[in-house]
């Protein structure tokens, strides 16, 4: 018998319990910690793989990659400007179209709707967030594009054609289509996070302002003011999603490497050109240029996400269910 075994009749000491557990407890904890470290490892691997793959392009073009509009796989010249432009234009349009109605919808769901209706509509919005991008792509290609070509774009050209934004021919596919599809896709994100934020911030403020004799609209201004950083966070998260969205955009943007001032023109985004050309890349340098695009996209979205999540957390006082719902 070893001396560490407790004598009969003596109460178990803490040390005895520890001794019995032996190495199992630390080992178990170490195993779980290993899984947690895995999350970092995955992030690091993404950066490493993108940086490694992009190295030839980084070496060949340097910073000119971002300002040159010359994308010519045959001559092995690669400049990302048309794709940066396309990404920026489509995302900006999506935000302009989506943000105003989405904030209205969030306010309606959080503050005005009868409880039962609000719950049902919020559930519906959550479900809409689960519709996958390829489904949006099919819809944009077969339904939205013909409609834009026949109805909307001729009207825009006839009535607003004096603006450079609406010059050109009605193709149906292009920046306008991509912007509309993106706006529909990011709407559920903005609505559901903004609604959560309004619910988390508003109660006392609303009651106080109503008690002072404010109308509903005036009290909304007060609560919106308090929720502003969080709603900004929701918008940035949605922007990050729009920037990185691939399949739906690839199907409706027309896929050319032009920089057109008109919204009716076709183009491509960083994500869509990767999806289009990656498996058919003609040379090592072509592949490296595409991977560099992924690297740029990664950097932009990580910075945006980091900022947005800090904003959401700050506004809601660290309520995980809100910060994480994003």
């Amino acid at each position: 018998m070893t001396s560490s075994a407790p004598a009969i009749g003596r109460p178990l000491a803490r040390a005895d319990v520890r001794a019995r557990a032996g190495l199992a407890d630390p080992a178990y904890r170490a195993l779980l910690t290993l899984f947690a470290v895995g999350v970092f490892a995955v992030l690091a691997l993404i950066v490493w793989e993108c940086a490694r793959g992009a190295a030839p392009s980084l070496a060949a073009f340097g910073w000119r990659f971002l300002v040159s509009a010359d994308w010519d796989p045959v001559a092995e010249k690669f400049g990302a400007l048309p794709y940066l432009y396309g990404t920026l234009v489509t995302s900006a349009m999506a935000m302009l179209l989506a943000v105003p109605p989405c904030i209205g919808a969030a306010v309606f769901l959080a503050e005005l709707a009868p409880r039962g209706f609000g719950a049902v509509a919020s559930f519906l919005v959550e479900l809409l967030a689960s519709i996958t991008s390829i489904v949006f792509g099919v819809w944009g290609l077969f339904v939205l594009a013909p409609w834009l070509r026949v109805v909307i774009e001729p009207w825009l050209i006839a009535h607003l054609g004096f603006l450079p934004l609406f010059r050109g021919f009605p193709f149906g596919l292009g920046f306008l289509n991509a912007g509309i599809v993106l706006a529909i896709m990011i709407a559920p994100t903005i609505v559901s996070i903004s609604r959560e934020i309004l619910l988390a911030t508003s109660r006392t403020l609303r009651e106080a302002s109503l008690a002072l004799g404010a109308t509903r609209a005036e009290s909304l201004a007060v609560t919106l003011d308090a929720a502003r950083p969080g709603i900004l966070g929701a918008m940035i998260l949605a922007l990050g999603r729009a920037l990185g969205e691939t399949m739906a955009v690839t199907m409706v943007i027309g896929n050319t490497n032009r920089i057109s001032a008109s919204l009716l023109g076709s183009g491509a985004t960083m994500a869509s050109v990767i999806a289009n050309e990656f498996t058919e890349a003609t040379s090592k340098l072509h592949l490296a240029a595409l991977i560099e695009l992924a690297l740029v996209l990664f950097a932009v979205t990580v910075v945006l996400n980091a900022a947005a999540r800090l904003l959401v957390r700050w506004t809601t006082g660290g309520r995980r269910d809100v910060a994480g719902a994003a």
């Binding site: 947690a36 989405c102 919808a105 306010v107 489904v135 109308t215 509903r216 999603r241």
Partner: protein, 291 residues
């Protein structure tokens, strides 16, 4: 002496807010309602279109027969449906293990700066565009093996699912009552035993539900599969070979210039919509009823 409270109340102007304020109020409230309508309307149209255009092509053959060459009637996406199941299954095996382990760590030992950093890293990972994950998986797996393969696709999907599973596992495990742990510890069980045989079984239903939700979403991912699993016109269930998947096949068929392929794409979109959205809806409703 100051007037009694009741007299002060009487001195207030009567009739509530004036006309301008009431008009502004009505306008703002109407605007909010219109916003909700604007958000929901395109979505409802989209679902209606998918159902209306996809339904005519929906038949048993779509699920059990192979794609036919252009011009031949019939044919289905059996290989793509099985391919998606294999991809999602393999990705679940990886993601549930790693993500579940991480979530368990965060819930049981997750205090201090390291755990905070893990949470934040998981949230950042959730924001990485899926195409970027595809590029990384290409470099990591496809280049290493030397060709496109199902396992590369599964790994890419697993990376995309990881953040969701980490977060929901942590939440579900935190919901297990403290008294369970205390009771087990009081019986002399070591910590690992408490977690493994008391906490985990209590949380398992929630973990399974959350994982299913994440898997349903992974089933609809397209972009990373283009760069990893590639797609396959033929029947293949091998993990080390390119494999067909429903989203990639819809993508190819929608862009093809043949109307019968386009019809197949509509039907495929309907099946995907039903698969992903119906599973999500049922699971969410179930969770609501329990919680």
């Amino acid at each position: 002496m100051s007037p009694a409270p009741r007299d002060r109340l009487a001195a207030l102007p009567r009739g509530g807010p004036g006309l301008a304020r009431r008009a502004w109020n009505a306008l703002v409230l109407a605007g909010c309602g219109a916003g909700l309508a604007l958000v929901l309307l395109p979505m409802i149209m989209l679902v209606a279109h998918i159902v209306a255009r996809g339904l005519p092509g929906l038949s048993l053959a779509f699920f059990v027969s192979m794609p036919k060459p252009v011009g031949e009637p019939g044919g289905g996406m059996a290989n793509a449906i099985v391919g998606t199941m294999i991809l999602v299954g393999a990705c679940g095996l990886i993601a549930v293990r790693v993500g579940g382990g991480t979530g368990l760590y965060l819930a049981e030992y997750g205090r201090g700066p390291f755990a905070g950093a893990v949470r934040y890293a998981a949230e950042l990972l959730a924001g990485v565009p899926s195409i970027v994950v595809g590029v990384a998986a290409y470099g990591l797996v496809v280049l290493t093996i030397g060709h496109f393969s199902a396992i590369a696709g599964a790994i890419a999907l697993a990376i995309l699912m990881l953040p969701t599973i980490v977060r929901s596992t942590e939440e579900v495990v935190r919901l297990v009552p403290r008294s369970y742990r205390e009771a087990a510890l009081a019986l002399g069980a070591p910590r690992w035993r408490v977690v493994q045989s008391v906490v985990l079984p209590a949380a398992s239903a929630g973990i399974v539900t959350a994982s299913m939700l994440a898997l349903a979403r992974a089933a609809g991912e397209t972009a990373p599969l283009l760069l990893t699993a590639l797609g396959n016109r033929f029947w293949s269930v091998a993990l080390d070979q390119p494999i067909a998947s429903l989203p990639v096949m819809i993508f190819d068929y929608a862009r093809a210039p043949y109307s019968d392929w386009n019809q197949q794409a509509w039907t495929g979109a309907l099946v995907l919509l039903l698969l992903v959205t119906a599973v999500s809806a049922m699971l969410r409703l179930a969770v609501r009823r329990i919680g």
